[in-house]
């Protein structure tokens, strides 16, 4: 088949062309034949312009699906009158597309005709125009939303630059050092006294530090009686 590939406006245009060229009845398209022709065209196109070919792919799969459904219909041999022809939707679209193609020819004629006479650009009436520009007509909700977006963006720019307040990181090892220096100075302290701040990271780090130090035998944890005061004592 040597059809100029780039002449088609899309898959529907191509399909319509193939149908017309083979003089098929649009209301009774031979699916097998048309699918074969369409695919052979598609393969040819793939060699030349893969990107363009991709536009034609969805309809190819649609054609194959319709073909398959028609075969199934025949096998089952159900009362044909009640079955919806699988081609129906495609035919409707093709006819519609064909109509618009025809209409665009009429439009083309009208375009040609209208090109034969002219109007002129409006005379500038600036001497009578008021300074105040006001708002032009044709404003839509989108314009309003756009204006608001721009306003918010400007507001954003006016805001002082963000400064990050960094929190001092409390690590288990730093707490260990601190606790051991406290114990060195005081010998022993109450458990609570080691918790000077009541922030979560501080408490967690301190608690872990005490446990680790106990494991390392660098401190002892004592409790005289149940529910009594817990005493932390340095080992040295």
């Amino acid at each position: 088949m040597d059809v100029k590939i780039l002449d088609f406006e899309g898959p529907l245009d191509l399909l319509l062309h193939l149908i017309k060229e083979s003089k098929m009845d649009i209301f009774d398209i031979p699916m097998e034949q048309i699918t074969k022709q369409y695919l052979s065209y598609l393969h040819e196109l793939e060699e030349i312009d893969l990107e363009k070919a991709s536009i034609y792919l969805p309809l190819a799969s649609e054609l194959m699906e319709i073909k398959a459904r028609m075969l199934l219909l025949k096998k089952e041999e159900i009362e044909e009158d009640e079955e919806i022809d699988p081609r129906e939707e495609l035919v409707r679209r093709l006819l519609e597309y064909e109509a618009y193609k025809e209409i665009s020819k009429t439009l083309k004629e009208k375009e040609d005709e209208r090109k034969q006479y002219f109007t002129k650009i409006p005379s500038p009436l600036s001497p009578y125009m008021e300074e105040d520009k006001g708002l032009e007509g044709d404003l839509t909700l989108d314009d309003l939303v756009d204006a608001l977006k721009k306003f918010l963006k400007r507001k954003e720019e006016e805001k002082p630059l963000k400064t990050k307040v960094t929190m001092k990181e409390i690590t288990v090892s730093s707490r260990k050092l601190e606790i051991s220096s406290i114990l060195k100075n005081k010998g022993k302290v109450k458990f609570q006294e080691l918790f000077e701040h009541f922030t979560k990271p501080y408490i967690v780090a301190t608690f872990l530090a005490i446990l680790e130090m106990a494991r390392e035998n660098s401190l002892l944890i004592k409790q005289e009686k149940t529910f009594g005061e817990i005493i932390v004592e340095g080992t040295k």
């Binding site: 898959p11 309809l59 064909e98 665009s104 375009e111 040609d112 006479y117 109007t119 650009i121």
Partner: protein
């Protein structure tokens, strides 16, 4: 009054004037406005002048006459014609008969993506956004403009040819068959 209207139409040029604008500016009622318009129109026609009054895109405009087209052509040196592509015409036809319409619906009619074409047509002023559909994602709806009508020399959107004339009808064959069989019947009775 006709002279004033003539001047007005000259000044507005391709923007044209609607009937209600004419009423407003001349401070007359609709009937009077129509009368002034038709007087001016006739006087243009009678004297066989180079200008006429046309009704395009719902507006009255002064235009040149197409009989004189060949003379205007001589003014232009490069005769490159600046026509719309087949794809553009197709897309416009679909929009014109289905407006307001979403881009996706246009794509479905054409079987190809129309994103670029729609953008181009908006830029040319042939179509415009007129709001959003209630469909999911609230897609933009497009409509043809008065410039579209003028470009194709159409007075109003109703002047577009009837879509039905362009649709191949399946029933048509049935109708003919019916007619034929009846015809045969008649023939048979005649023969008898």
């Amino acid at each position: 009054m006709e002279a004033v209207l003539e001047g007005l139409l000259f000044v507005v040029g391709e923007d044209g004037l609607t009937l209600s604008q004419i009423e407003e500016i001349l401070e007359v009622d609709e009937e009077k406005a129509k009368e002034i318009l038709s007087n001016l129109k006739t006087s243009y026609e009678e004297k066989n002048r180079g200008i006429r009054i046309d009704f395009l895109g719902n507006r009255f405009k002064l235009t040149t006459k197409k009989e004189h087209q060949k003379y205007y052509q001589k003014l232009v040196e490069n005769k490159e014609n600046n026509m719309l592509s087949q794809a553009a015409l197709e897309t416009l036809a679909i929009i014109a008969y289905n407006q307001p319409i979403t881009r996706l619906a246009i794509d479905n009619f054409r079987g190809v993506s129309s994103a670029q074409m729609v953008r181009k047509l908006v830029a040319k002023g042939f179509i415009k956004e007129v709001g959003r559909s209630d469909l999911p994602g609230r897609p933009i709806l497009y409509e043809t403009t008065s410039e579209f009508l003028d470009y194709f020399g159409l007075p109003t959107i109703d002047e577009l040819p009837d879509m039905r004339n362009f649709l191949e009808q399946n029933q048509e064959d049935d109708d003919i068959d019916l007619y034929n069989s009846k015809y045969k019947e008649d023939k048979i009775t005649q023969e008898n």
